[in-house]
């Protein structure tokens, strides 16, 4: 039996000792695109932050390739890259410097090759020619893509994406989805994403975990399309069926 890339054992997350979500048990396999979904305030981003060590777990364990994050070599690079909701690019650095910095910190690749690698990663996300621009001069979509290039700087085996489509127009959002799929296909990266976007969810996620904000626990785990059709939880079915008002519904209201 292969070790899952990420395993969550009875994880509880929350603030100030108060759990927002409890009893999370999930195994995410290598190369999987796994979505964390739920209503607003249900603790999706809190779970993501706890998985990457930004927030302490209230209980349980998160294992990367069978090793807890805290036990992994602290001197080495983290086993993951992360794309924050707002991009979180370092504003005092150019895009190139943003991507090169993680490589410099960990001596990733020969020093002479880092510029070239960073330029390639920026080109990968469609930002060739923008290397010397500062984050403040970019649009929201470009910032997200640049942040994705930075998340890929150390060639991580896992990529965490916190609401990658938030604030993006549908086209940019779709381009980002395609990029994530290409990264999985090309590099075999495991992707864990927090999202609200049904379009993205159906397009790219292999499986999803639905966090219920009222019950403070996960209530569904499976492929989005399967859950939409067969989940015995009305909230999950309702969430996955939301695709805007139909013509007849709109007519009935007017």
């Amino acid at each position: 039996m292969t070790t899952p890339r990420i395993a969550l054992h009875d994880v509880s997350v929350g603030y100030g000792g108060r759990p927002v979500q409890s009893g999370i048990r999930v195994e995410i396999q290598a190369g999987e695109i796994f979505a964390v979904v739920g209503d607003s305030g249900s603790g999706k981003s809190t779970l993501l932050k706890s998985m990457v060590g930004l927030q302490p777990l209230l209980s349980g364990q998160v294992l990367f390739d069978g090793v807890p994050l805290d036990d992994a070599a602290q001197d080495g690079p983290p086993p993951f890259g992360i794309l924050f909701q707002g991009g979180a690019l370092w504003s005092s650095m150019t895009l190139l410097e943003n991507v090169v910095m993680p490589m410099d910190l960990y001596g990733h690749a020969p020093a002479t090759a880092r510029d070239l690698l960073a330029r390639f990663k920026l080109a990968l996300v469609g930002l060739a020619g923008h290397e010397d621009r500062y984050p403040a001069s970019l649009s929201g979509g470009m910032r997200k893509r640049a942040a994705l290039a930075r998340a890929l700087a150390l060639d991580p085996s896992v990529l965490f994406l916190d609401e990658p489509s938030a604030g993006l127009d549908p086209l940019s959002s779709r381009r980002l989805d395609e990029l994530v799929l290409s990264l999985r296909e090309g590099l075999g990266i495991t992707v864990v994403l927090v999202t609200h976007e049904l379009e993205s969810l159906y397009s790219i996620a292999d499986r999803m975990l639905f966090l219920d904000g009222e019950q403070h626990r996960p209530v569904a785990l499976g492929a989005p399309a399967t859950l939409a059709a067969t989940s015995d939880n009305a909230k999950v079915r309702d969430f996955l069926a939301r695709r805007g008002l139909s013509d007849s519904e709109r007519e009935a209201r007017s």
Binding site: P77, P78, I82
Partner: protein, 367 residues
């Protein structure tokens, strides 16, 4: 106040006047609206002018009245369907009733304030300790610090602060000389203005005034910059890369200001002495050469040593407080403002307090 309601056997009629509902009725209790709260209400009929176009205030008013009318379900007649839909939307999303925050008495507030101050002091001491432990890593080039970061801070803190440091210290020297000259002239001891300005500037004024200027400019800018990074999740991005923000952000700033402050201190002393000399030569029968010779004789090397040491400590303090205020800031725009204000206020208080500590120690050592 005329009421729009008319009470009938077991129902209510709400009549909307031509000009719409009087919005001062919003939030009024039933009794003020001409409704007997004791009488059961089973239906409510709305009578509105033909071209009445309702707004959210009308929906809120009706919703409030219906909430106050407890008991059996009330049938609505004549209420437009979209208005009913809006009201059910508001009712369908009950807001979580947060428990009211317990009122705090004076003693509680003072106690909590003292505890918060104590926690902050401990955090500051921990940060100072952290910097001391990380310093060898910086000196041996093993720290996770960008050299350009130190150079940026040095450039930003020196070139942009130089004008204000010049003005403040030149004027401080001049003011000190002016006040001294007025008093000393009456005793025929005008030349001693040079001693007064020299010792006061080198030992006290130059390091303190320069540190206060840096607290207002550079310390505040450190706090604002780091607090903004906090809000933009830039610090989270560093943390996930296992880069301690204390090392990447605080250490270069502390190092830069500790290096820069002694240089600014020497420059400030020079300006202060020049300011004193200009006033002394204009107001007193003192030549520039005489003034300089008297200054040279008055200032002992110990004064320079104390002033120099103060400048290093004040530089580190301004940077530490600025960075600490930025790091502990929340994630909103208002938090950036609060961090900036706290950085300036705390740094000025700390500079004066540490200066007093220096004075006590120097006195005890007989320096």
């Amino acid at each position: 106040m005329s009421t729009p309601f008319r009470q009938e056997a077991d129902g209510l009629v709400l009549r909307i006047p031509d000009g719409g509902l009087d919005q001062t009725l919003l939030g009024c209790p039933l009794s003020s609206l001409g409704i007997d709260p004791g009488r059961p209400v089973r239906w409510l009929r709305l009578e509105a002018p033909a071209h009445w176009s309702w707004g959210t205030a009308d929906a809120a008013f009706l919703d409030d009245v219906l909430r106050q009318l407890t008991g059996e379900a009330i049938r609505l007649d004549g209420v437009p369907r979209d208005l009913q839909a809006l009201m059910s939307l508001a009712r369908g999303t009950p807001s979580a009733q947060a428990a009211p925050a317990p009122r705090q008495g004076l003693r509680e507030r003072v106690g909590l304030g003292v505890l918060a101050w104590w926690r902050e002091t401990l955090a500051m001491v921990a940060l100072i300790g952290d910097m001391v432990l990380r310093l060898p890593r910086l000196l041996t080039g093993r720290a996770m610090v960008r050299r350009s970061e130190i150079l940026d801070v040095l450039a930003e803190s020196s070139t942009r602060a130089i004008v204000i440091v010049s003005v403040v210290n030149l004027l401080m020297g001049a003011i000190l000389a002016f006040v001294g000259a007025v008093q000393l002239k009456t005793f025929g001891a005008g030349l001693y203005v040079a001693d007064l300005v020299g010792i006061a500037s080198v030992r006290e004024l130059a390091p303190v005034m320069t540190a206060i200027v840096l607290a207002g400019r550079t310390g505040a800018s450190f706090a604002a910059r780091i607090a903004t990074m906090q809000g933009n999740e830039e610090i989270d991005a560093l943390t996930t890369l296992r880069v301690p923000p204390e090392e990447f952000l605080v250490l270069p700033r502390v190092a830069a200001l500790s290096l820069l402050m002694p240089l600014l201190y020497v420059y400030a002393c020079l300006l202060s002495l020049i300011g004193g000399m200009i006033v002394a030569t204009l107001m007193l029968d003192v030549t520039a050469t005489g003034y300089l010779i008297e200054t040279q004789a008055a200032i002992k090397s110990a004064n320079f040593a104390i002033g120099g040491l103060k400048s290093v400590v004040f530089g580190a303090l301004v940077a530490l407080i600025g960075c600490r205020c930025g790091l502990r800031a929340g994630r909103s725009a208002a938090d950036v403002g609060q961090a900036t204000t706290a950085a300036v206020v705390n740094a000025i208080v700390a500079i004066i307090a540490v200066d007093a500590l220096f004075a006590v120690c120097a006195n005890a050592l007989g320096v």
